[in-house]
């Protein structure tokens, strides 16, 4: 009898450890966080301390009056203190000669708003840990409020649509770009629809964090907050890439490179139709979003065409 050997998908080559999470975890149905975390634990391994804060990932990472749903050590601090706590942990491990990955895992609200100062400070100081931001474009755990990465026009509970309101009036902060501009060893965007790319970047993060701060910005659409059918979240990720709404790139010391190029980008209308948070928008407003996507992408493309302009974060003493 001939045994049928199934070829493993490419992603598996990046895995070094078993999944550290329990079989069933307390995330919302269809939330990309679960798979993102499982991949993270497999690629980064179990010599990892997770640092985070009250957020969507908190019930699973830090327990909700039950134990946590995984077997990694974790440090759950306040939203203001994620990158600084990771600084303290990683500095001590370095001093003690312990090889431990310190990985921050927070939403965009923490990374872009209340925890931004300390993240920026850690980047500038060249702290050696990985900061993973899962981008769901708002404060989802507290019930869908706007954050500084919520896009223009989106409806949230603090930018509701009414007779006078048309959703968020300002544009999103381009957080991954801001982080790359700190000239850190590695900054990248990723999402589950391109899981090989995601795993590869996580693996690269492990290497590059030996030189300084690594920032990964992972697109994680929120089924509850955005109004996505629970079986469609990864399709939304895919369309975000195909429309160039969420281009996949990496930057080493400020040197940008697109890791996926889209030959014929889809119009943004195809993306916004997949969920409800932009339902109220008219043609004019959608045109604004399309224009923003075009401009941001053009800027990114422009950056990739620059020569080697990044400089290492630290120059060794005496050289």
């Amino acid at each position: 009898m001939v045994e049928k050997v199934r070829k493993l998908p490419k992603t598996f080559q990046y895995f070094k450890d078993e999944d550290a999470f329990a079989g069933g975890v307390a995330f919302c149905a269809g939330c990309p966080l679960e798979l993102t975390l499982r991949v993270l634990s497999k690629v980064m391994g179990h010599e990892t301390v997770i640092v985070g804060t009250p957020s969507c990932s908190a019930p699973v990472l830090y327990g909700q009056n039950v134990g946590a749903w995984h077997r990694l050590p974790y440090y759950s601090c306040l939203m203001t203190g994620v990158a600084s706590s990771a600084t303290g942990l990683s500095r001590y491990y370095r001093k003690a000669g312990k090889d431990v990955n310190v990985v921050c895992f927070t939403g965009d609200g923490c990374a872009a708003d209340i925890g931004f100062q300390t993240l920026s400070g850690a980047a500038e100081r060249g702290e050696r840990f990985i900061y993973v931001c899962y981008e769901n474009e708002g404060y989802m755990n507290t019930g869908i409020q706007r954050s500084s990465t919520t896009p223009f026009g989106a409806t949230t509970t603090t930018t509701p649509v009414g007779s006078a309101g048309r959703g968020k009036t300002t544009h999103a902060k381009n957080l991954p770009m801001l982080m790359a501009m700190h000239n850190i060893p590695y900054a990248a965007t990723a999402t589950l629809s391109n899981i090989d790319d995601l795993s590869k970047k996580m693996q690269k993060a492990m290497e590059k964090k030996k030189e300084g701060l690594v920032y990964l910005h992972i697109f994680c659409p929120c089924p509850v907050g955005w109004g996505i059918e629970s079986d469609m979240s990864i399709q939304v990720c895919r369309m975000a890439v195909k429309t160039n709404y969420f281009p996949l790139w990496e930057a080493e010391y400020g040197k940008f490179k697109l890791t996926t190029t889209v030959a014929n980008p889809e119009p943004i209308t195809k993306y916004v139709k997949m969920f409800r948070k932009f339902n109220h928008l008219g043609e004019k407003e959608l045109a604004v979003i399309q224009e923003e996507v075009n401009q941001k992408y053009a800027f990114l493309k422009h950056l990739t065409e620059f020569g080697e302009h990044g400089i290492p974060a630290e120059t060794p003493a005496g050289e």
Binding site: V49, Y62, Y75, L78, K98, S120
Partner: protein, 400 residues
Amino acid sequence: MKAKQGELKVMTGNSAAAYGAMLCRPDVVASYPITPQTEVVEQLSRFHADGVLTAEMIEVEGENSAMNAVAAATLAGGRAFTATSSWGLVYMYDAVLQAAGFRAPVVMANVNRETPGILAVSSGQQDMIQTRDAGWIQVVVENSQEILDTIIMAFRLAEDYDIQLPVMVNYDGFYISYLAEGVRIPAREDVDQFLSVLKTQPQRTIMDPTRPIGAGSHGLMTEFMELRYKHCAAMDRAKKKFDEIDKDYGDFFGRSYGGQIEEYRTEDADFVILTSGSAVGTSRTVVDAKRAEGVKVGLIKLRMFRPFPQEKLIKAIKGKKAVGVIDRSVNFGWNCGPLYSELRALTPEIGNIPMLSFIDGLASIDITKPHIERVIDDIANAAKGKPYQAVTWIPLEERD
């Protein structure tokens, strides 16, 4: 066995704080400059540049990050130090509460400075008072030598297996922070030996992937109450432990400070003054002068503010005819001094004697000898049964 007599050097209070921290060989130091603490950061940075201090130095972008970094470093298993003052302490407040809740054995020097209202870049203990309910151990000291010695003792206390709590060592900004005086610097190996007791204790729980644990889990109801109870119990144990450490320190280095409180000429006193910080030195001088005139006054120096040394204070004050408290801060809502209102809570044990509150020294107003003479006169009159004013804002009355 006795320690060697350390080198004598003239230095400021801030410098003494930096020396104290350096001698304890911290693994991680994180702090952010703020007047009047800045010199501590500078001195530690110089130690590091000179190779005397081999800690990981984190030049953080704010006090909040300083506290988070040192708390996390201690939970990872390290020894960590930070220093701050006033608004810096306020800016790290969430992390201050968390460090206590995490039982992170951080040692912090807090250089007392005013906080609320107008921007008073000046001395005052209000910053310390604002964090009295944070779950930290709070110690107040009087001079440069005591700063250095107490920081060494603070590491012994914070990291003790039975305590595991953060310790804040407070000293009056401007007065003590910048005043230069002679300080004995203990030898490094002697400090190593003094702290080596900690190595004989069981290893505290630390964050290590080989034995995964969580910090900051979600705990509700009785689980949470149990943690609070244990925290309070540890605070309670800290009182006796602090006395023991102070005695050990005295036996070894030849300097001790009385532990929770120091009593000065109280034994045969009719009445006493209770105060803390730099006001103690002046008070001692005035007490001596009054004693020479035949006034039977004594002085109690409060060293430990949290946990509150109830038993020691009851023992020291019970039987006296009156007590006056000088506070360099206010208790909003009670219109008196904070140390005074806390002492009042001990009335059932001390007895119903006149207790007088004196508010003085806010925003770098000097607590002068005439001020303390006036305090003594007022308490003396109250002790004789004459009517007295419960709360006196000394400098404001003088102005009128």
